[in-house]
């Protein structure tokens, strides 16, 4: 067994188990912590796919920033004192339909793809494609318009958040 296969199995197992543990915890903080573990093991999988930049950004943005905010809110709101709603009519059927749709979609993509062809492709090219340099070059040349549009959207969201927060205090 090669080192890469071994690492893949470790990361994949951690990701799957932590994902299941996350949705089965009744304590919200524990669920959030398992989500962090899940995101971290996904970063490991990205590294194995030579996507170094994506891997690090996954940790910085999701594990390091967004999940901290989640934990922050959970800790301040103290959801353990809230009444736990056990039964909402129709929610299980709805959840089942959504989950089934996602499953069919994933199964379709996996069956349609040709994993062999991806493995045979040029290794150096795939390593280079994952570096910060190549992603930066792509972002500022071929994808400059979507990049700037996303930046503008985020700026608008930031200003909106500031305005909303200000109004509350006055």
């Amino acid at each position: 067994m090669s080192l890469e296969l071994f690492l893949f199995l470790v990361f994949a197992a951690v990701a799957a188990v932590s994902g299941i543990l996350m949705i089965t915890r009744s304590e919200v903080v524990m669920a959030a912590l398992f989500l962090i573990l899940n995101l971290a093991s996904l970063a490991g999988l990205y590294l194995l796919l030579n996507a170094q930049f994506i891997a690090v950004v996954q940790v910085i943005v999701y594990a390091g920033a967004i999940m901290v905010l989640f934990l922050f809110v959970i800790m301040l709101l103290r959801p353990e004192h809230e009444k736990i709603v056990t039964k909402i009519s129709g929610i299980r059927t709805f959840a089942f339909i959504i989950a089934a749709l996602v499953f069919v979609q994933l199964a379709y993509v996996i069956l349609k793809s040709h994993p062999g062809s991806a493995l045979n492709s040029d290794v150096t090219a795939s390593v280079n494609a994952g570096t910060v340099e190549s992603i930066g070059t792509e972002l500022y040349t071929n994808y400059i318009l979507p990049f700037e549009a996303a930046g503008f959207l985020l700026l608008a969201a930031t200003i909106g958040a500031v305005v909303l927060a200000k109004r509350k205090f006055e």
């Binding site: 903080v29 690090v56 905010l69």
Partner: protein
């Protein structure tokens, strides 16, 4: 170089750095106490060993013998996990910081860094963003309101200062054109130190580093008069020692980062052109790296015993209204320098 050689050399490097970190951390505590005594006109520890030099070992021995108390309300697994995260983050960050130039030993070229990865700086930022969890979880899992408030303060503080820290680093990256720490060091040859070329970025980075390490004047998460011991109020024995160790290890990391990013790393300006033998030059360069770190560590302690603590709202407005705009100005300044001088 074969795989076995690579693993062996890496293991030796990890061992050397780990031993050095542990020794430096324990003596840093000693020096903190000695320097604070000097600043306050006292004697400081002087009973255990010659001039109190065995004090760190006595402290560790004492902490190991203490009872490990876990509060009834605490979430036990997370209460144990928090100091482990703190130590993990503190020790793994050092892997990407180069402490000397490449050396040749028995015909093998050995870079003096554990892992020379091309996303090194992002790796450091990623780990430091995970460091928040140690303090937040410690505060939450203790089941005490003082700990919780300390933990929440620290997450707000670290998120705020990570922003200006990231933007200050962007200025350095613009000059170096690479995320590899080794390349960043080499880009500061001669007197082209980033501290001199981009003083604003240097100041914002140093201030953010103080905030990230939770040192005075930014030690709000553990402000004693308001929050008892802050996030580690409910910690005792070796778990407390873990946080203590992590705080000092983080100081060393922060100093090493400041040296690598802004003070030329292991380089001594123009030492190669004097005509000294190559081995001596490398030795001087390695020593200069540690000397720079030692000075910064002294600076950290010096500031702690000279400046009073900020109030919480002052800390937040300093972070968002002063440091953040300054770090943006720094990026414009660096970009301007590159445009004008075609660096």
């Amino acid at each position: 170089m074969s795989l076995l050689q690579l693993i062996g050399i890496t293991a030796v490097k990890i061992l050397i750095i780990f031993t050095m970190m542990m020794l430096t951390v324990s003596y840093l505590v000693y020096f903190e106490r000695k320097i604070s005594a000097w600043a306050q006109n006292r004697l400081g520890p002087n009973r255990v060993g010659w001039y109190g030099l065995l004090q760190p070992f006595a402290d560790v021995f004492k902490l190991a013998l203490k009872e490990d108390i876990v509060p009834t309300n605490a979430n036990k697994p997370i209460h144990t996990l928090a100091p482990v995260i703190a130590l993990f983050v503190a020790f793994t960050t050092y892997a990407v910081i180069p402490f000397g130039p490449d050396i040749s030993l028995f015909g093998i070229t050995i870079p003096l860094v554990v892992a020379d990865v091309n996303i090194g700086i992002l790796y450091v930022l990623a780990l430091s963003s995970l460091g928040v969890y140690a303090i937040t979880l410690a505060g939450w899992s203790s089941g005490s309101k003082y700990s919780l408030l300390g933990g929440i303060r620290s997450s707000a503080q670290m998120i705020s200062y990570e922003v200006s820290m990231g933007f200050s680093v962007a200025g350095v990256l613009l000059f170096a054109g690479s995320l590899r720490p080794a390349a960043i060091v080499l880009s500061q040859h001669g007197w082209m130190w980033n501290a001199l070329l981009q003083p604003i970025g240097f100041i914002t980075f140093v201030v953010s580093a103080f905030a990230e390490t939770n040192r005075l004047p930014f030690d709000l998460p553990e402000a004693e008069p308001e929050l008892v011991g802050g996030f580690h109020t409910e910690y005792s024995s070796m778990k407390f020692a873990g946080f203590f160790l992590a705080e000092y290890a983080n100081m060393i990391i922060a100093s090493a980062l400041i040296v690598t990013l802004y003070l030329g790393g292991w380089q001594v300006p123009y030492i190669e052109s004097i005509g000294l033998p190559a081995g001596l030059v490398i030795a001087i360069q390695i020593i200069s790296f540690f000397a720079k770190i030692a000075f910064l560590l002294f600076f950290f302690i010096w500031v702690r015993w000279s400046i009073p603590r900020f109030r919480y709202d002052q800390l937040m407005s300093l972070g968002w209204k002063v440091m953040f705009p300054l770090s943006l100005i720094n990026i414009v300044w660096v970009a301007g320098l590159i445009m004008i001088f075609r660096l």
